[in-house]
Assembly symmetry: C2
Homo-oligomer: 373 residues x 2
Amino acid sequence: MTDRLAITYLLTCSPGESPAEKARDVALEQTVELPADCVPAEILESVVGRVESLEPAGDRHVARISYPVEALGGELPQLLNLLFGNVSMKAGIRVEEIDWPPAVLELLPGPRHGVEGLRRLCGVAEPRPLLCAALKPLGLSAGELADRCRRLALAGVDVVKDDHSLADQGWAPFDQRLALCQHAVAEANRESGGSTLYFPNLTGALGDLRGRLDQVRRAGCRGVMLSPMVLGLDVARSLAAESELAVLGHPALTGALFGRRHGIAPELLLGELFRLIGCDGVIYPNVGGRFVFSREDCLAINDRLRRPLGGRRPAFPVPGGGIDTSRLEEWIERYGPDTIFLIGTGLYREPDLEAGASALAGLLRQVSCGSRP
Amino acid sequence: MTDRLAITYLLTCSPGESPAEKARDVALEQTVELPADCVPAEILESVVGRVESLEPAGDRHVARISYPVEALGGELPQLLNLLFGNVSMKAGIRVEEIDWPPAVLELLPGPRHGVEGLRRLCGVAEPRPLLCAALKPLGLSAGELADRCRRLALAGVDVVKDDHSLADQGWAPFDQRLALCQHAVAEANRESGGSTLYFPNLTGALGDLRGRLDQVRRAGCRGVMLSPMVLGLDVARSLAAESELAVLGHPALTGALFGRRHGIAPELLLGELFRLIGCDGVIYPNVGGRFVFSREDCLAINDRLRRPLGGRRPAFPVPGGGIDTSRLEEWIERYGPDTIFLIGTGLYREPDLEAGASALAGLLRQVSCGSRP
């Protein structure tokens, strides 16, 4: 089995649909795209997915189907395709888990920095969560954004990252924003002795991405944020592989895949695939915020980002999306020190941005002193 | 309004949720990602989406929200992000329509060949549908696939295209498949006096795509198939823009977006976005086949691919996904001559591939003689 790629699906049958036929149909659709009676016997045996097991689970069924690793042809896009290409247009098929054989992991380098490396970049050796602030809103000038950067850095925030809607708009063009924000953070660090990092949002037409990545590096930034589903997963992998920068993965557009009965489980897409393509931290919408993730989704994502996986480095969970700062202590308790808390709205609600950020930064620093906040 | 990008959403409220608040929330989430009371007044006015109208529609609401074109910053990834980036992780939000202002269309060239150009490449001046055969299955050698190509070309199929699972697997590596299949089709054309085209599936790691596109062109192919959602929409746009090849867009992975209450309408994604990024034909799963599209979905996709749109060329609808060949006449009647019928399984079920393909090709040729089949 280790030379095969086994995928676990949760199947929801419509009335009259047979679970065994549905599982077999997935195995055929994702390889030969033909009914079994049109496929040569040798290919049925060696190429078509093999239903390894099928078990009822409440009103659904869990099917484990294995595929020959050769079906991937060594390409990440073809892995996506095998996972959920054509079956995305069917119904009641949810991809839950992948058993990663070594030959497939070879395509997927995992984080370059990981939890330890990103801690090092932030100068935070002690076992406490990191604080990340979202730089917003769209519509401010580069100078205004840089001023917010400066105040967030002086407050001791570990990472300031662009909102994912900040692209190359005229209000704050990428070049200007990069230069002014990185300068502001560097100045604030000199002033305070701190080590805040600024991660710009890397977006753009395909032909501009590499140039921008170089610009970011040359400006002295140590990382970027990018949205793998928007850019393309293999674009994100390629950018992460080419650069020495840390990468925060943003979940924009992924929500379309998170149907309860049809799609890809969020812990698989955000927790494993984003990690394996090279994200050092993965942003996701925390339960209780503006989005629809459950507590179980969040815990499962955290687990998948951190657990052992073929020698790949663990990545930071970065819960965000409307974290209620008055409940931050509860989340620290629940998620543990290897977490980056991403605060946006909670900071901009404060009468004084710097004081608000400083209070949160102080709260996180207490964790490492052993005194649970 | 013409300088603004207006997006129409179908909103499904959960119990207790206000439609007006939900619409306003979309407008904020997709721009500033902050509640209104944290946003400077000037930005609220000039940057945040504006709810232009909100009307009940059965148990749902239709909201029309306009955004300043500047919010896109001239980038296709940011358009995707604005359309469904963060709201993908909410619930009950379906993007139905975009009013395309000229400034946004400038980013999107549309098909290079379109319906007329692809007809020319195929040597089919008469007003009849085209016949496209899927080359399959995965697992055959390049020589075996080339033999199928030859027989399909001799039968008078207009386009033979790789199955979208054919990548660079050892069974039929891309280089070999390209060389042998294109050679087989060219030989068959010489023998028969026909003008069948072979469109290989363009896939691969990001760094290999351009090289492969060049190879395809140098081999003498006139087009390729690619999967925009798998590669990334802007990768597909970029490849289409750089090459003179015709492009068939495959819908792999898009099905995740087609929720009835949450997602992007298939006619918008496949019918407009795929056309605008440069697809000359767009494959979609026909109603009544192996997939879940409705008759209305299919008709709406056809309409969006062909209707006037900012001077962009019309693209071919390419219904496939298990077309019952015994009902082909009905589909011809319903979809009209500017359609490419994609037949896969229907051909491989035939006792003789060449005879089966020849019968279908003959059927389509009758259409142009004015005798409805």
